[in-house]
Symmetry: C2
Subunit: 369 residues, 2 copies
C-alpha cells in the first residue's frame, strides 16, 4: 500500500515535470529561444526538411510540410535572419541614402520605397548623408560587406571620384531622382518639367519670368537642379524670351529662401510677372514673401512650383506633380529586379510630371507691362 502510494507520488512528480517542460517549450517561449533544431525534433524530421518546408522549396511532401508549419507556428518559431543570411549570402535588406529627411521630397521617397520593399518582404535601412564629411565617411565605410543587398541613392549630390567608389560598394546600386553613370535609375524628366512650367506661364501671357533655385553644392554631378535650370533657359529661349541675369536667383536651402528671393526680384527696376520655383517648398516660401509685402498672387506675381507637395494643395499653388510615390515604387521595383533578376531587369524609368493648375498662376496684370 505504502509502496503504491510512493509510486503514485513519483508518477505525479514525473508528470508534472513533463507538463512543465511542455509548457516551457510551447507557451512561454520568446521568439528567440527556439531554433530550427527544436522544430525538427518536435516534428520528428531533420533540420533540412524543416528548412525546406518553411521556405516553399520543393522536396517536402504536402502533409509533412503542413505539419512542420503547424508545429513551427505553435512554437512561435522565427528563422534567424543572421544565420539565414550567412548561409544564403544575401541579407534581405536595402539601404536608402538621402541627403536629409527635413525636405518633404526625401521623406516621401523614403516612405514610398519602404512601403514597396516591405511588400516584397525586404527591410529598409536609412542613411542620411548631408555634408561633404558624411559623404566621405559613407563612401569609406558603408561598403560594409553584406550589410545590405542593394543601395538606393536618392537624389544624392555626389563627386566624380566618389562615383568610382560605387563599384566597390559591395552591393547593387540604384539611383532615384537622378542619373549616375549607367546605373539603373528612375527619374522624372526635369527638362520637360521646366519646359512645361515656362509654357504654362507663357500661355497665360507672361514674358518676364524668373527662376528661383537652391544652391548647387559645388563639385557635385548634375542633379535635377541643374537640369531644371537648363530646361528653363532653353524653354525661355525657345519662346524667344530674354532672361536677365538678375532673374536667376540661387540661394542656400532654407525655409525663408523663397521669401527672400522674391524680395530681391521685386526690388528690381523691371520685376518679373511670374516666377518658376525649383520646388513647392520654395514656392510656398515665395507666396509668404508676397504676403509680407502686401502683394497678391497671382495678380502681382504668378508662382509655379515643382513637386506635388501636399501643402501645394492647401495654398492653391500651381505645381508640376512629379509623382514621388510612383518614383519611389519604381525605385523599389528596380532594386528588386536587380537583386534577383527574373527576366531582364529594367534599367531606366523616366516619368513625366503633370501640370496641376491652381490659382497661384494667372494672366499678368496689364499694368505691369
Amino acid at each position: 500500500m505504502s509502496q503504491r502510494c510512493v509510486k503514485g507520488g513519483y508518477a505525479n512528480v514525473y508528470k508534472m515535470v513533463i507538463v512543465m517542460k511542455v509548457s516551457r517549450e510551447t507557451e512561454r517561449l520568446l521568439p528567440g529561444d527556439v531554433n530550427m533544431a527544436d522544430v525538427a525534433r518536435h516534428a520528428g524530421v531533420s533540420i533540412a526538411t524543416v528548412s525546406r518546408a518553411l521556405r516553399d522549396v520543393p522536396g517536402v511532401s504536402g502533409p509533412t510540410r503542413l505539419r512542420i508549419r503547424e508545429i513551427a507556428a505553435e512554437l512561435s518559431y522565427v528563422v534567424s535572419p543572421e544565420a539565414s543570411s550567412l548561409a544564403r549570402g544575401s541579407t534581405g535588406r536595402v539601404a536608402v541614402v538621402v541627403p536629409h529627411l527635413s525636405a518633404w521630397f526625401y521623406a516621401a521617397m523614403l516612405s514610398g520605397i519602404q512601403r514597396r520593399l516591405h511588400e516584397t518582404g525586404r527591410d529598409t535601412l536609412v542613411y542620411q548623408v548631408s555634408d561633404e564629411a558624411e559623404r566621405a565617411y559613407f563612401f569609406e565605410h558603408l561598403p560594409s560587406r553584406r550589410k545590405v543587398d542593394a543601395v538606393i541613392l536618392v537624389a544624392l549630390p555626389i563627386l566624380r571620384r566618389e562615383i568610382e567608389r560605387l563599384d566597390h560598394i559591395g552591393a547593387d546600386v540604384v539611383v532615384a531622382g537622378g542619373r549616375l553613370q549607367n546605373l539603373p535609375h528612375v527619374v522624372v524628366d526635369d527638362r520637360a518639367i521646366a519646359r512645361a512650367a515656362v509654357q504654362h506661364l507663357v500661355d497665360l501671357g507672361h514674358r518676364r519670368i524668373a527662376m528661383i533655385r537652391t544652391s548647387d553644392t559645388e563639385g557635385t554631378v548634375a542633379t535635377s537642379d541643374v537640369l531644371r535650370h537648363e530646361g528653363f533657359l532653353a524653354a525661355m529661349a525657345a519662346s524667344g524670351l530674354d532672361v536677365p541675369e538678375a532673374y536667376l536667383v540661387t540661394m542656400p536651402y532654407g525655409v525663408r529662401t523663397g521669401a527672400e528671393a522674391v524680395g530681391r526680384l521685386l526690388d528690381l527696376p523691371a520685376p518679373p510677372t511670374a516666377v518658376f520655383a525649383y520646388s513647392d517648398e520654395i514656392a510656398i516660401s515665395v507666396l509668404e514673401g508676397l504676403r509680407r509685402r502686401g502683394l497678391r498672387c497671382p495678380e502681382d506675381l504668378s508662382v509655379i512650383g515643382v513637386d506635388g507637395h501636399p501643402l501645394a494643395d492647401l495654398f492653391d499653388l500651381t505645381t508640376l506633380d512629379q509623382h514621388v510615390e510612383q518614383q519611389a515604387a519604381h525605385a523599389a521595383d528596380l532594386v528588386v529586379g536587380v537583386i534577383d533578376p527574373h527576366d531582364i531587369p529594367q534599367r531606366e524609368v523616366v516619368l513625366a510630371a503633370t501640370l496641376v493648375v491652381r490659382s497661384s498662376t494667372g494672366p499678368p496684370s496689364t499694368l505691369s507691362d
Copy 2:
C-alpha cells in the same frame, strides 16, 4: 635553344599567374571577397587573433595588432555583419516604427534618431505602421528573431492587447513621444504644453479659446493627443473659463483639417478669439483658412500651435517647440543604454516644451468681446 625558349615561356606564364593572383588578392578586391581567414593568412596569425586585433579586445600585442590592422586595410577587409551577429547574438540594428512619414514630426524623429544611432555605429531600420491591418501584421511578424536589437516606437497608437505582444517582440522596446506600460520612454510634458498655450492666450486677454485636434484612432491608448486635450480643459477650468462643446473640434488628419475646422468655429454665433491647435501643421492650415475668409491673424483670431515646425518660423506662428531633435537623441540614447547597460540605464526622459512667441498671437480685438 628552343628548349630554353620554351622554359622561358613557361616561367613567364607562371609569373603572370602569380601576378594575377596577387593583384586579385590585393587590388581588385571587392569588399565581399576577402574574409578573416585571408587576413590571418596574410598576417601569419590565427583567425582568433585577427578578430581580437580588429575589435580592440585585449589579448593582442601592440605591434601585432597594428600589423593586422594595416593588412586588413590593405585588403580592404570588412567584417561580415551576418557572421559577427550570429556569433555574438546581437545585430547592431535598431528599428524605428512610425505611423507614417508624411507628417513632419515623424520624419524629424526618424532623422534625429538615425543621426544619433549612427554615431554609436548602429544602423536604423524604418517601419511604417499606418492602419489597423498593418499594425496587426507588424505585431504578428516583426518580432522576427534578432532582426534588430531594439525597437523604438514613435508615438504609435496601439491597442491594449497589442501591448502584451510587446513582451514577445524579442527585442528591447523604447517609446518616443508617448508612454506605454513601464517601458523606457522619452516624452514631452503634453499637459504642460496645453497649460502653457492656454496661459499665453489668457495672458493676452483671451477668454474664448477653442482647440482643434486630429481624431483619435479609436481603441488606442492615451497618446499626446488625449493629454493635450485634457490639459487644455484643465487649464481652461483653472482659469475659470468655460469651454463650449462646439469649441472642441476633432477632425481626421489632413492638409485642410485646420482650414475647415476654423471655418466651423468662425461660423458659431459666439466665435472664439483664439485657437489652440494640436500641431503646427494644423495651425498653418488654420492660418490659411483665415486668409481665405479674408480675416487677419492675430487681429481676428490668435493661433498657437505645437511642434517647432520649420514652417512655423516662416509663417510667424506662435508655437510650443517640443524639441524633436532632442527627443530623438534621447530616444536613441535610451535604446543604447538598454542594449548594453553601462550603469543603470535611464528609463524616463521628460522634456519641457518652450513657448516661442511670434506674431500669430496677440490681444483679442476689443470689438469681438
